[in-house]
Symmetry: C2
Subunit: 254 residues, 2 copies
Amino acid sequence: MTKLLTIAGLGPGDQNMVTPCVQEAISSATDVVGYIPYVARIPPRDGLALHPSDNRVEIERAEFALDMAASGKRVLIVSSGDPGIFAMAAAVFEVLDKNPSRWTDVDIQILPGVTAMLAAAAKIGAPLGHDFCALNLSDNLKPWELIEKRLLLALEADFAMALYNPRSKSRPEGFEKVLTILKNKCSEDRSIVFARAISTPEERIKITTLALAKPEMADMQTIVIIGSSQTKVLSQNGKIFAYTPRHSKFDLSN
Amino acid sequence: MTKLLTIAGLGPGDQNMVTPCVQEAISSATDVVGYIPYVARIPPRDGLALHPSDNRVEIERAEFALDMAASGKRVLIVSSGDPGIFAMAAAVFEVLDKNPSRWTDVDIQILPGVTAMLAAAAKIGAPLGHDFCALNLSDNLKPWELIEKRLLLALEADFAMALYNPRSKSRPEGFEKVLTILKNKCSEDRSIVFARAISTPEERIKITTLALAKPEMADMQTIVIIGSSQTKVLSQNGKIFAYTPRHSKFDLSN
């Protein structure tokens, strides 16, 4: 029998953004593993065991899921958004890489999903319509100095930026530092978007400028999108949108 | 009556990766507009007019779609992947921005999709599992110098990179220059992935190293993913995967 571990992305929250492919994997799973709020999105049914676990236990969760898959169960790890973007897919490979002889006969399948920055960008226009980068602001797994270094280089490259996990309760100071750097380096009318819990009933969107941005506008459910120097804001039929044009001039002074 | 233009992402190619949300927009459209191969993915039916158009006419296509939406038709612009990533959403806002008084009563709705880099990353592991950037290598709309500048800064930041539109028939030399820069700046065992037509019958995947990478491994249907210095390759149950660990050290020599 094929032993299979599937790692799937549930999209940003709206059931209508779960791909049929992922829906099918949910329907055929015997066991669903994941962070508590993501597993809570899976409807209970007979023959399905739900295994929610807390944040910051990604390695243990991956080992647990691999063990179950090796025992012949049809195991599904669920992530919010896409499983390959700051989520569980990398954690599973870290575990496999450290234990090369432990789960040798388990197939790994990854099913992509709509990651938060795409859902946020779609709601507010097209802020990622030109070259961009995605930065995880959590310094649980990397030193803060590296985050600052990447932020400065991304500004120099004039990338639009999607910032994941911008501000947790345990380390609120990081995002404040990021905002200070941005305010020092960019013009004060640079666009910044706070997109919280996109496509859920708690959705909240704020399109503003760096001059008006405050640290407390972000939390862990927020994706922050920083426009490039070319990003523009416009009003269309009473609604505000932000977009980054597809064209760009070369300006060394950027 | 509400006048509405919807811009939707069809995902990478597999019908099972089209979100229900987008499927519903296809079902309720009277007119579908887009680049020829993307419109070809929409099944014909009574009451639906298909308007395929050629590449490089994004502005005209956006104007045409806005005019039809203004006339009361239910118009859907389709992009492959996600409409906000190097696709039609930005083109529509460019047109609106240039003509602020022309289509004032048309609502704009954007429906995200699984963009090519997410589908490619899922197929090969988790190469975008840490900070990364997305670069469009087409110099139709920006000078080549800007592409090189961004490439060098992205290497300095040690981002993984997803390269869109790497190599067209009309400008094959750009990607060759990119490979030369990468080979000069990175160790020769740096991971590089060529992911072509992911999730379609023509899918072709090659995980290799910079030392073995050749320009002709890419075409316009290929997403190229360059690993960061931390990206690793492993074999699992007979299959090769690439992943970028979630953790990273700070190394100024990067």
